[in-house]
């Protein structure tokens, strides 16, 4: 991609990256496993259900739902189709935009979510929060925030990060 020699990772960075990688992988696969085993729900679907459950009237436009649950449209479309098969979600035509579809969480779906939640929360607590000090929780939140917002405002492309930070207000720390 960037043709020239990259800035390789330092020892510490290497270690941090690899540890982070295994930590995240094991954490997510543990969580996924619990959910799958005890409730037969993939974590991605769980997220969709949660977002719907929190939306007014338990319904959202597909595209909003996609954004909220960090899915691609394609993925969401497939996912909702499966959830519809289970009777957990229904698709309705959008009244204001004839292209649109609205996904709505059914009562059955809500019940399924309610049933799945306690086990899931317990798993997250045991695998994550029970392992961290309160300070670390705060740190993790800040770090995650930084990573996530960087992904939204991607760097100007081209060089590693020139002096070209056009007057964007937040997030673009200090180039």
């Amino acid at each position: 991609m960037t043709g020239s020699d990259p800035r390789w990772l330092s020892e510490d960075e290497q270690r941090a990256w690899r540890t982070f990688l295994t930590a995240a992988q094991t954490l997510f696969s543990t969580v996924e496993g619990q959910l799958q085993r005890d409730s037969g729900i993939p974590h991605g679907y769980y997220e969709i259900l949660v977002r719907l459950s929190e939306a007014p009237d338990r319904s959202l436009r597909m595209s909003q739902l996609a954004e909220a649950s960090a899915s691609s449209k394609s993925r969401l479309s497939h996912a909702v189709a499966r959830l519809e098969d289970r009777g957990w979600v229904e698709r309705l035509d959008c009244p204001t935009d004839r292209r649109g579809q609205v996904a709505r969480l059914t009562d059955v779906g809500y019940t399924a979510l309610e049933a799945a939640a306690p086990g899931h929360v317990t798993q997250v607590r045991e695998s994550l929060f029970d392992q961290l000090s309160p300070d670390q929780v705060t740190q993790l939140a800040a770090i995650s925030e930084a990573i996530a917002s960087a992904a939204e405002n991607p760097a100007p492309a081209g060089l590693g990060c020139p002096l070209a930070c056009s007057g964007d207000d937040e997030d673009v720390a200090d180039c």
Copy 2:
């Protein structure tokens, strides 16, 4: 799973969890995307290649490789099969244990890895390390360490975490 009412997440924990989730998801999918786009290698395969490249004689027993790359044996077997198709890895019979197979990184595979590495490292740097202060890198490493080691020494099962921490030395912080 744990029948009784779970300890729900606090506001802060909720937020931390969700932010972490999106951060990790976007980060990994960005990294995956770069690798896939620029080098046609899934990140999981990249990890396998890296581990092999670092091993003596660029070869490892399947099971060791599985552990090193945090794959299940099944996954690794499939993955190595694909890598073999590309000519990047070869399977050899293990001399000392006739059950065993040894995966070895070929020269072609090594070259492919060399070609992919700079872009990958650049992506990791831009998406992760450029966004974090040095302190945060340290914090992230510690947090990841805590999460990962918790997964290795899973809690005694049953209650949330009783007083039953048998005299294990490290990792089992303070129940």
